[in-house]
Each structure stands twice: as structure tokens, then as C-alpha cells.
Symmetry: C2
DNA sequence: ATGTAATGTAAGTACCTACTTACATTTTGA
DNA sequence: TCAAAATGTAAGTAGGTACTTACATTACAT
């Protein structure tokens, strides 16, 4: 067995087990067993459980996904762009589900590692989305609102949806059309709001 | 020391420690020490670490908060009602921050306990919000959309905001006006959307 | 084919954990 | 005041953990 293959098998087992049982709950013995190697081999490769955990964080990056998600925004309509962004964002979360679980669970206890990976991804994503909003605002195609907060709102509702369905309820969001329906519904409200379209502005009238 | 007082001190210490270090990371010794009692006292009260954890889940309920949040929705305008709901929801999350952290971390590993508490709260909250949307839709004050998905969207974006600020970045959302600003921004987009108000419907036109 | 790098076997170390037992001390309530 | 209830002290159990050491075996490249 090639050294890199062994390394990878250990890393994969570790990701799965840690995502299920947490950092403390996933023992080196069990990780090694799941990887089909001896515990000693694990330690020869990574030296320490802590270092193994660090390798997980280092090897599992969100960043490549971002580049896949972002292109061609200019070529499609506003709602189409948001739907595509939302869908791809959810799919990239789904692909990295065990990793998302780990971050969710160990966030509080290992903030440095987490922030480096997750924070980077989120900042990039939010920043790019905000820039997109800004450019449309400058063209007059969107009204005036905070691009930053709008980005956080958009990503936040998608992330919560993912969290509720996949992590809490353990539902596969890619089955059927539920994900597409949800994204379409979210985007529709995000674009058009919840007020009737024919009505004028009813807002800011007390009782 | 009254028996109930001791019990409560142990429960409080346990909540804090478990929220910081997780269920496995919080040892009974440390919990007892933080509560100012002996480890033996802890076991005399709760018998088992697992039972202690169960008591945490049982004692710390979200439900009372719901009753505080929900009244008087009919008396105020749509946007006002949403802002109030959003603000009180965030404040009730903030009050239970350690508990929210625990659920966030241990969700995957202790699904039964979690779902009982968190699920109840969320279902109640989402259900009530959905009913509110529906009633306004019937009055013609809101356009046609899925009340359920809209509720999830609304709560989801607020929860993500809380998660990012308070749990990840450890920022106090109640300081200054940042929370009110954020809620106002979210509600504004949720109510009016992101399209310009003067423009007609540009939607569903390809390129 | 053979030397080297990678892995396995087996035994063990030092430490920590949840939890227990026996007995002494304090606190509380009537 | 005084018995009962609650807590403390001290020592220990059984099991698990990350990690180590010494030595044997396999796989691979030249």
C-alpha cells in the first residue's frame, strides 16, 4: 500500500468518525480499525491525535467549491443567478456534510482551526455575493440595501435550511425536488418580498 | 444548603462546562468542583452523568419564552410585528446561549434529547409564525407564498445571524444597535424584497 | 534478489474517567 | 435539642485513552 493511500484512508476514517462522535468520542483505535490499519501506523503517520485533527482541517477545504460556484453570474438574470448560487451552495455543503458536522460540533472548542477554514470560505462567499449585489445596485437593477447584510441573510437562510434538513432531521435534500423548491421559494421572497405586488406601499402605518 | 439549591448549582455548572467542553470533555469532577460540592454529592443527586445530562435538557426549556414572544401580533403593523418577533427571538437565544451551544455541539450524538426540546420549540415557533402569515394572506395583506417555507426562512436567517455573531465570533449582539439594525435590515428585505420599488415586474425575462 | 521503507504484533506505561464503598461530619427541621 | 437528612473525606475499582517500545513481517523499487 502506498504511503499516501494509507494516509488518506486514515484521514477519511477520522473525518467520518469525528463527525459522528466528536473529537473526544472518536478514539484513535477505532479510527485505525475503520481505516484497516494498526493504531501504531496511525501514530507513525500523524504523531498525535491533535496533529491528525489538524491534518483533517488542512486537507478538507471549502475553497475549491467557491470557484465552481461563482462564474457566469453576469450572464443570467438576477433570480436565476441567486437560484444557481443557492443550489450550488447547498450541494457543496452536502458534499462536505461530515466536515460541516465537525465544524458545527467542535467550533466552540477549537476556534482557531475552525475560523481559518470556515471563516475564509464564508468571507469569500459573502464578499463576492455582496459585490454582486453592489454592482446590480449601481446599475439601478436593485434598490438600496446593505449588500453585506443581504448576503448574510441569503447565505444564512440557506445554511439553516441545510442544518435543519440534513443534520437535524437527516433528510436527503437532493431527493426529489425539495431542494429546488425550497431555493426557489427563498429566492422569490428575497427578490420580491412578501407584500402583495399590486398594492402600493402599506408600510409604516400604525394600526 | 437546601437540597434544591445544591441540585441547581450542579446543573448550572454542568450547563456551562458542557457548553464549553462538550459532554465528553466536561468531567464530573470538574462540574462538581465548579459547583462547590464533592463529586460524590453530584452522583448522589443524579446517579449518572447521563442522567445529569438528561436533567439539563429537561430543566432548560425554550417553551416559556415562546409565550412571551408571541402576544399582540394583531395589534401592530406587519413590519413591526416581524421586527418584534425577530428581536425577541434573538434575545431569547442569547439568554440561553450555553444551552444553544450544547444543542449545536451534541445534536448529532444525542438526537433524542435534542429533538424533544429544540424540535418542540422550533415547531411551535414556526407553526405560529406560519399561522400569522396565513391569516394576513387571507386578509389580502400579504401575497401568495408558502407560509411554512417563509417561516423557516425568517427564523433561519435570524438563527444564522446569532450563530455567526455570538457563537463563532463571540460578539455581543445586544451591544449598541447592531442587533436592531440587523433585524430591521432583514425584515425590510423580507417584506419588500430587493428589487427597486418604482420598477415594474422585471422578473421571468430571460437575459 | 535484496535492501529499505512501510506496516504489523504484542506488550506495556501513565493517566484519566465514571462510579463505588465505608465512615465521619455538618446542616436542617420539628 | 436531637434525630434525620445532606454533605464531606478518603480510598479504591474497573475500564478506557493516547501513546511507546522492541521486534517481526510484508511490500516495493532498483
Amino acid at each position: 500500500m502506498k504511503i499516501t493511500a494509507t494516509r488518506q484512508k486514515i484521514l477519511d476514517s477520522a473525518v467520518l468518525l469525528v463527525s459522528e462522535k466528536g473529537y473526544l468520542g472518536a478514539t484513535t483505535r477505532e479510527i485505525a480499525k475503520k481505516a484497516g490499519v494498526t493504531e501504531l501506523t496511525l501514530f507513525r503517520h500523524f504523531g498525535t491525535k491533535e496533529k491528525l485533527f489538524g491534518s483533517i482541517m488542512g486537507s478538507n477545504s471549502f475553497l475549491p467549491a467557491l470557484r465552481e460556484i461563482l462564474p457566469d453570474l453576469e450572464e443570467m438574470s438576477y433570480a436565476e443567478a441567486l437560484e444557481m448560487l443557492g443550489t450550488r451552495f447547498l450541494l457543496s455543503l452536502k458534499e462536505r456534510k461530515p466536515f460541516v458536522k465537525i465544524m458545527q460540533s467542535e467550533m466552540t472548542r477549537y476556534p482557531a482551526e475552525m475560523r481559518r477554514v470556515y471563516g475564509h470560505f464564508m468571507d469569500d462567499m459573502l464578499g463576492t455575493l455582496a459585490l454582486y449585489f453592489e454592482s446590480l445596485q449601481r446599475k439601478g437593477q436593485l434598490r438600496d440595501f446593505s449588500p453585506t447584510m443581504a448576503s448574510r441573510m441569503f447565505m444564512g437562510m440557506l445554511f439553516s435550511y441545510f442544518r435543519t434538513e440534513e443534520i437535524m432531521r437527516n433528510v436527503d435534500i437532493t431527493r426529489g425536488k425539495r431542494m429546488n423548491k425550497a431555493v426557489a421559494e427563498f429566492v422569490d421572497i428575497f427578490v420580491h418580498g412578501t407584500l402583495p405586488r399590486t398594492n402600493g406601499t402599506v408600510r409604516r402605518k400604525r394600526s
